[in-house]
Structures are given as structure tokens and as C-alpha cells.
Symmetry: C2
Subunit: 555 residues, 2 copies
């Protein structure tokens, strides 16, 4: 492109999600500033999503950042709004493709450091620690971490100012006037930002279907304290490993009635260590190890543990199966699920609740009492933020399609007419306005399989899903130069019902007998004939067609 | 056992669940009468449970009735309380093990006949059709089908009288004073039964965690009629295929505003045909086929369809993906989910709701309006049935462990002190009382895999689950009589990331080179050495150890 043409392209501020639209998790958003042919880029958040049962053997899913990786000479940095896995968990996997500095608050930096160390990247990644409230400049992007409230320490919204416009990227937030820890929602600053004018609010939609206001962490703390004070046996509290407010609340409730606190679960220990390294949770006294649980009287102990989502290897699941090496609970003890069940985890949570019921252990969940409050804004809170920030336009983020659409309706109802719902890979012009879908970028998702990053489309998980339905049969033949069998046909099946082998070998032998003998080295037709015969025989005997692989060795 | 000893054993009435305790589905209960060494048996219900994702490739799970099959000379019959899959769906699979007459109401007989025909058993199984309210005798068992209300036509509770005692087996029920179809709850007869004395009530626990009374079908009908009357575009109603009340309600709502009714979904068509064969639903007029949907004006059509649980191949899922061959919906149309999401199906239902949102189709679910009511009793209904029947003892059935335990607490609170929760395989003495766990019988579950019945423990599903996590590698070697390679080592991998083959072949070659040459025909040590080397190489490169199968052919 020549200089004259280039000069004609107008500077604009654009938004490009590479993950996180229309699903929960895997947040990854890019902002571009400048003319279309030489945009300067900023990335906000780089999170994972957990694998689904439809992709067996895949625990972690990553956004494909190939597009921005190709532009990395003009990528000025990655900014993390907070330390949840779905906003930060992919950094250690994908940073080698980006090689840019990473900006985050002290708590997020602690959590990230652990992950980078595990990945052997701690010496390489330049992590810039910015306190909540900081302003800093990356290329054309003037940025500010604005304090909000959420379910993890140091949650921030990100103010993004470029020559073309001003955007408030909400991150994950709620309005909690009485948080247990932290600086709280910076209403004053948000109102100032609103007074100066906000072109676009990119906004959390998770709880848009719920009316009213979320209960405060202080309300939850009061209920948990009351419940613990009335308990006569052992008390276990399970919550999200990163939910430091809830951890602090539980510890205070325990201390108030003279209970020691035992921590179970590595992720929760990591949270507590990261918090203490940042000067938080220093009033919580000595926290005990699992090994000490059994030595304490029932009314003098609280267990704080992981597993609120029914994770089968987490502490509470193992306790519920009476399989935990150090902790056991019995009739008269109480487990508080200080959490909500994330959609998709219902069966796993239900299994734990049922196992606890079989042990006659009492359980209180957020369906029974106010022992949890979400970290995302309900309608009342959304309306309040709109009022403070007064955005000209809105992009609903963080939610499934029905949440994004409901958020659009809600914003329309509140007088925000310019609302657009982009998908991953859509490039939206934010300013100069109105919102406009102007281009597309390649995007997608990657699977973490073992320690490798593999394709999600037509990758190994898809092959394994097929294996999981129909199993596999391996047939090997050795034939002479004259194309006669040099040994018996060998057949190995895996994942098929017992007793089918004879039928399948017979089918292979018949196919061998009835297929024209291969010319030297051209065994493909023979292999294919055997493959289809064995599949057909399986279908007749079993009603399913397994994967069949045939190996023909010609001597 | 000699005659003298036999004479000493007292006659008793016992209860033996072979499926259905502590989980939803797979109901199968046996009652025994007489002395322990020559019990006469009756089976009540024989249902399936749907397969879970942890058992890939398994759609249907059956109770193992091996114990009662061995006693079939004294099995007097199988009685079905109603036609739901979890009470009747296993008959066509397991009847060949039982070979006893089957007793059920006319509607259940229609549904069963379809299944028996598909299984080629329709000529063999003696099905005895008994109207609701019938009394009949099977060996020592005097039985009566008592009319109750539920979410399918002709639901019954079963009164079981033997010389030893009287039991009311509730089946699935609720108290609906204004059902849309059917005879309704026979309160008068239940009170009479109570007045005569009931030793044990075996009772539905599904909704024991819910206070108050279930809304009536008539309340749901009124809301659906109101919603449909206000709709301006196309309306689709999705509900359980067997829920004839809801089908009738939807058809009436459509007729009231001049809408034609199109049926989509084979299972729903079967329900309607079965109902009409029993003289029900005859006022519903002509129901149209899917092909006719597209020719009708939007405000003159209602689609009644399957898929309320998010089943990916059902009508509403395909419509939501805009992939249905005959039906498409668009902005301004309305879908009513006249159902609740059965635990475990949340993700699938959510996917359908999101796809509909992406098409800007309005959706009303039971979370938004009274478009569904459960067919199971809440606390108020349970208390009412206790009051009518006045059982001396209670066995909570139909529910997960936490429901069964909550039901025990609830019954205690209502003054029923003798409550026992048996597990599958427990033999409980019901009379003479009190309830007592006296013995155990073998029990378990079976998988339907393709068209075969296979073991659930260590069966093919377990092998396939393993395959689905780690994939499989086949290695085949051909060696000469002198144990030298006669051809290159062949390696086929399935379900592994690309690019590992070279490492794995190299590992196999090294293992071959370093393993002592096998003596004639003893190739096991060589195969094992190659297997472990290939697994280790995969673990190093990938971080996972695949299943490795090695075939060594010695010429």
C-alpha cells in the first residue's frame, strides 16, 4: 500500500474479541488504535475455559491468538483486569506467541508468578505491577485501573483512552457497598469518568436476567457467622479457591467462636499465600494443615476447602466419599457450600451432596440460606453503572448469547440506543461512532492436551470422542511376496463387547480370500476390503461400527 | 433344608429394590411373600435410566435382575404402575430373563406394545391389560391399581395385600385436584385403604425438598392459553413426549385462537397414537405433519415438539440450529419450554436456549412463567397422603440420597416413626413389622451397548472412557524365526496429537534392539518391553500415557 493511500485511512479505535463472546470463560479482548493498515494493539485479559465432556481428555481450552501474534510488533502490552482463571489462566500458555509486557495489580501478579514459574517462563515474561488506581501509557493507549468490587482481590475496570475515543472495559464486577476486603467500588472516579464522556462501555452481562441488587459480602458474612456460631459439631466451608473475601469471612466466623481453621486444597493455599504476600489477610492468625484436623475437638475446628463445584479430586468430594487421608466428617457435622453451582457442574455437585447425605452430614447451600452472593451485576447494578458512566454506546460482554441479548434489551430500555453484540473475531469500530462491525479476524480455540497445545477442530479430542462411542479394532496381516498369508491374521479390539473377536476375524479372513491378490506393494485395496468387512461384521453382531485400522505387511 | 426346619421359618412380606434407590430412574422393585426359603415374588416396574457421559456410547442402563431371574418359577408377574421409561423401559430388554406375565393399564399396554414389537417380542410376552381401579390376584398377592395423578395418562399407585401385611406402593404421583385428563386422584379409595390399615407406604420422594403444593395442570393450562392467545408470530411448545395432559393443553390453547397444530418428534406421535387408541385426545382434531408447517401463516400455527431436555437430535434443537428440514422459526416467534430441566441436562438445554437467542426468537421457560408443573408431590401433598393412608411405616423411594433422607426427616416430623431407607439389593421385612433390613440380594446395573446387553463394571464403556482420555497406539512387528525384523515396525495411533509417531517408532525400535531376542514363540517379554517404551516416549513428548497394544508376529 503506498503512502498516499495510507494517508487516506482514518484513525479509529476498534474492538476485537478473540474469546469470551457468547460463552462464559476464555476472555481475550484486543483494542486497536490508528488507521486500519497500521493499528496499534492492546490486549485485555487472556483467560482459559475449562474443557467440556464433549472433548474428552481436554481440561483446558485457550483462545487462538494467532492473528494478534502476527501483529505483535505493534502489540504494546497485555493488561489483566483481575486474577480469575478465565481472565489470566492462558498467559503462561500463550505468552510465547505474544512476547509483550504484562500489566496487572499486585495480587494478580502473585497468582501469575506461580503459573509462569510452573511453565518455566518466570525469568522471561516482563510483568509490570500496577497498583489499583494506577494510570499508565502503552503506545497510543492511556490506561487506568479503576477499582471495582468482585469475588477476588483487586478487581478492576479498565479505562482506555486513545486519540480516537474513550472506552470503559468493565471487567467482572458488582456493586458491593460493604465488601469484606479491598478498596471497594470507586464510584467517585467512575462518575468523574462519566462526566468527561465515555464513548463505549464494554460490560459484564452474566446476571442481567436477575432483577434488583446483589447481596453484599457483608450480608453473607453475617449469615455465615450466625450459622457457624450455632454449629455444635465440625464445620466445613467450601468455596471458590480464589474467593478471598469468603475465605476471610469464614476465618472470622471461626475465630469468633474459638475454632481453629484448617485449609485443604492447593489452589486455596495459593490464594492465601498470594494475598499475604500483598499484605492482605494478615489478621487471620495461624492456619493449620489438613494433618491437624483430626486432633481437634469437633466444636473447635473449621475446615476451609476446595471442591464447591463437585470436582471429584478436591477436598470436599473426597471427604464426602470418606476417602480423604486426613479429614473425616460424621453425623452432626455441617458443610456450608458458600458458592453457586456453575452451569454444567450440577451433576458433580449433586454427587457430593448425595454422598454427604449418605453420611448424615448436614449441608447448607446457597439455595437454603444467604451463604453466597455472586460477583456479577444484576439489573439494578447495571442501571447504576450506566448512570455513573453515561456511555454513548454499549457492548454486552461476559455471558451466553441469551444473556448478551437480554443485556441489549435492558440497555435499550435504559435509553442506550447504540448497542452491538460482536462475536469472536468481529472487528467493531468503537470510535468515531456509532458502533460498526467493519471487519473480521481469524479466531478460534485451542486445546491443551497433556502438555501440548493442539487444534480443537479435527484434533485428537475429536478422534477420542469417536473412540469413546465405538471403540477400535486393529487388524494386522503379514503376507508373502506372492500375497499369501504368512501367519494367522491378528486382531486386537479395545472398547468393544467381549465375544465379538471370532466373528471379526472370520470377516477379515473372508475378505482376504475374496479380494484380488495385491500387486507388489499395493496393499491399499486389500486393507480397505478387510476394513469394511470387519466393520460390517461388527455392525451385524453389535449394532455399532467401530473404527477399524488394518496393517498389511508384505514380505 | 428338611421339612421340620422349613416349618420353622415364619411367613413374612419383604421388599427388595433392584434399582431406583438413591437415584432417579431405573425403578425395579420386588415384593416377596411367604417364608424366606420359598418366597413368592412380584415385581413392580422395570425401568431404564439414561446413560451418563462417564459411560460413553451407553444410552440406556438397565437393572440387573439376575437374582429374581433365578427365582422366576416363583415370580407371579410384573406389574407396571405407569408408562414412563424409568418404570417400563426395560421390559423389552429384560423380559426374556423373567418370562412372567406383565400387568398394566391400557395406555401403558399401548406404549409397551410398541417396544415389544421393535424387540420382536410382541408375540411372546403375555401382557394383561387391567383398567385403572382393577383388583387382581397373582399368587399370594392381592393387587389393586388405585388412580393417582402424575404427568402421564393412567398413573397408578399399587395396593399390595398378602397374608402377612398390606402395602401401598405409591408409584409416581402428585395431588392434582383439577387434572386436564384422566380420572384424577382417587382420594375416596385411598382414605378407605387407610381406614382398613396400611402397614407400609413406599413413597415418591422427588420433591420432598419443596414446601407447599404443586400447581395444578389446570393452572398451567390457563397460563399457556393466555400466552398463546397473545402471541402474534409462530408458537412452538416443547414438552416431555409422554406428557399427554400438556399435549392436550397445548392443542386446546392453539384451537382457542384458530391455530393449526403440527406435531414434530416420533416419541410424541407415539404418545398421541397410544392415547387415541385408548379413547383419549379424541376432541383434538386433525394434527398436522412437519411438512405442512411452512405453508401456514405465522399466527395460524402451533408446533408441538420434543426436545425439552436439549436432546441434540430432537426437533427443537434442530430448529434452534436452523437445521430442521421442515420447520424454521424467526424473530417474533415464540418457543415455550413447558418442562423443567432434569438435573444433568442443564448444558444441553442451555445450548438450545442460546441458539434460539441467536435467532432472536422469544423463549418462555418455567423460570419465567407457570408453563410447567412437576408430577411429583411437594411437602403439603405428602402430608395429605399420609393423612389419608395413615401408614404405620414408610420407605422413601424415588429420589437421590439427599431426597430420601429429607423424606425420612419429614415423615418423622409428621409422626411416622418407623422409616427405613433401603439400598438396591437390601431385603427389608415389611410385615410383620417393624421395618427390618434382614438380608441382601445381588444387584447391579447393565449397559445397553449397541444392541447388546453388557456388564457395566469393567465393560466396554470403561475401556472406551480410558480411550477417550489417552487414545491408543498399535505397534506391529514381524520377526523372522531368528528373531530379526522381517519388515519395518508399523505404528498406528488414534486419538494422539499429530507429530508424535517418529518419537514412538524410535522408542519401539530402541526397545527391540535392547531386548534379548525371544526364544521361539515366546514374544511376550519383547512385546511388553516395546509397550512400556512407547508409553514412556509418549509421556515424555505429550505428558500422557496412551494405551499401547503390541502385536509380534514371528514367522
Amino acid at each position: 500500500m503506498n503512502a498516499r493511500r495510507r494517508a487516506q485511512l482514518p484513525p479509529e479505535l476498534v474492538f476485537l474479541p478473540l474469546g469470551g463472546t457468547g460463552e462464559i470463560g476464555m476472555n481475550c479482548y484486543c483494542y486497536g488504535s490508528g488507521p486500519a493498515d497500521e493499528r496499534h494493539w492492546l490486549m485485555v485479559d487472556l483467560g482459559v475455559k475449562f474443557g467440556e465432556e464433549t472433548d474428552p481428555g481436554i481440561d483446558v481450552v485457550l483462545p487462538d491468538v494467532g492473528f494478534i501474534s502476527a501483529e505483535k510488533s505493534r502489540l504494546h502490552g497485555l493488561v489483566l483486569t483481575h486474577a480469575h482463571e478465565d481472565h489470566l489462566g492462558a498467559v503462561a500458555w500463550l505468552w510465547p506467541q505474544l512476547e509483550c509486557p504484562v500489566y496487572c495489580t499486585p495480587f494478580a501478579a502473585q497468582i501469575l508468578a506461580l503459573k509462569l514459574k510452573e511453565a518455566g517462563l518466570d525469568e522471561q515474561v516482563p510483568v509490570k505491577v500496577m497498583p489499583v488506581g494506577s494510570r499508565f501509557k502503552l503506545g497510543p493507549f492511556e490506561l487506568e485501573f479503576v477499582s471495582v468490587t468482585h469475588s477476588i482481590p483487586e478487581p478492576t475496570a479498565l479505562l482506555i483512552e486513545t486519540p480516537e475515543g474513550r472506552v470503559l472495559h468493565s471487567g467482572d464486577w458488582k456493586i458491593d457497598r460493604t465488601p469484606v476486603l479491598g478498596q471497594g467500588m470507586d464510584e467517585k472516579r467512575l462518575r468523574e469518568i462519566g462526566a468527561k464522556g465515555v464513548d463505549v462501555l464494554i460490560c459484564d452481562s452474566t446476571n442481567v436476567l436477575r432483577e434488583g441488587f446483589s447481596p453484599s459480602e457483608a450480608d453473607v458474612a453475617a449469615r455465615i457467622a450466625a450459622i457457624v456460631s450455632q454449629a455444635t459439631g465440625r464445620v466445613a466451608v467450601t468455596t471458590f479457591a480464589s474467593h478471598l473475601d469468603r475465605i476471610a469471612t469464614s476465618i472470622r466466623a471461626a475465630r469468633a467462636c474459638g475454632r481453629e481453621v484448617v485449609i485443604a486444597g492447593r489452589a486455596m493455599r495459593n490464594t492465601i499465600e498470594a494475598a499475604r504476600a500483598c499484605g492482605m489477610l494478615n489478621d487471620s492468625g495461624r492456619l493449620l494443615d489438613e494433618e491437624e484436623f483430626g486432633y481437634l475437638p469437633p466444636d473447635k475446628v473449621m475446615l476451609l476447602c476446595t471442591g464447591s463445584q463437585g470436582e471429584p479430586r478436591a477436598a470436599i468430594a473426597r471427604i464426602a466419599e470418606d476417602q480423604h487421608p486426613h479429614v473425616s466428617l460424621e453425623e452432626g457435622d455441617l458443610v456450608i457450600f458458600s458458592s453457586k453451582t456453575i452451569p454444567g457442574n450440577e451433576k458433580e455437585v449433586s454427587r457430593v451432596l448425595n454422598n454427604l447425605a449418605e453420611l448424615d452430614i448436614d449441608v447448607i447451600t446457597s439455595e437454603d440460606d444467604l451463604v453466597h452472593s455472586s460477583g456479577h451485576p444484576r439489573q439494578g447494578e447495571l442501571a447504576m453503572l450506566y448512570d455513573w458512566v453515561k456511555p454513548k454506546a454499549l457492548i454486552p460482554m461476559h455471558g451466553e448469547p441469551r444473556h448478551l441479548r437480554a443485556h441489549r434489551e435492558f440497555a435499550h430500555g435504559k435509553g442506550i440506543r447504540d448497542v452491538l453484540i460482536p462475536r469472536d473475531g468481529h472487528i467493531t469500530r468503537l470510535a468515531p461512532g456509532p458502533l460498526d462491525h467493519i471487519d473480521e479476524a481469524p479466531c478460534g480455540r485451542l486445546h491443551v492436551d497433556g502438555k501440548l497445545i493442539v487444534p480443537s477442530e479435527d484434533g485428537p479430542a475429536k478422534q477420542r470422542r469417536k473412540l469413546s462411542y465405538v471403540g477400535i479394532v486393529f487388524v494386522s496381516l503379514v503376507i508373502t511376496a506372492k500375497s499369501e498369508l504368512a501367519a494367522d491374521i491378528e486382531l486386537i479390539a479395545d472398547g468393544l463387547p467381549m465375544g465379538l473377536e471370532d466373528d471379526l476375524i472370520e470377516a477379515a479372513e473372508k475378505a482376504f480370500g475374496s479380494t484380488p491378490k495385491p500387486r507388489r506393494k499395493d496393499v491399499n485395496a486389500l486393507a480397505e476390503s478387510i476394513r469394511t468387512s470387519v466393520r460390517r461384521a461388527a455392525d451385524i453382531a453389535w449394532g455399532k461400527k467401530p473404527i477399524v485400522k488394518v496393517s498389511v505387511t508384505q514380505l
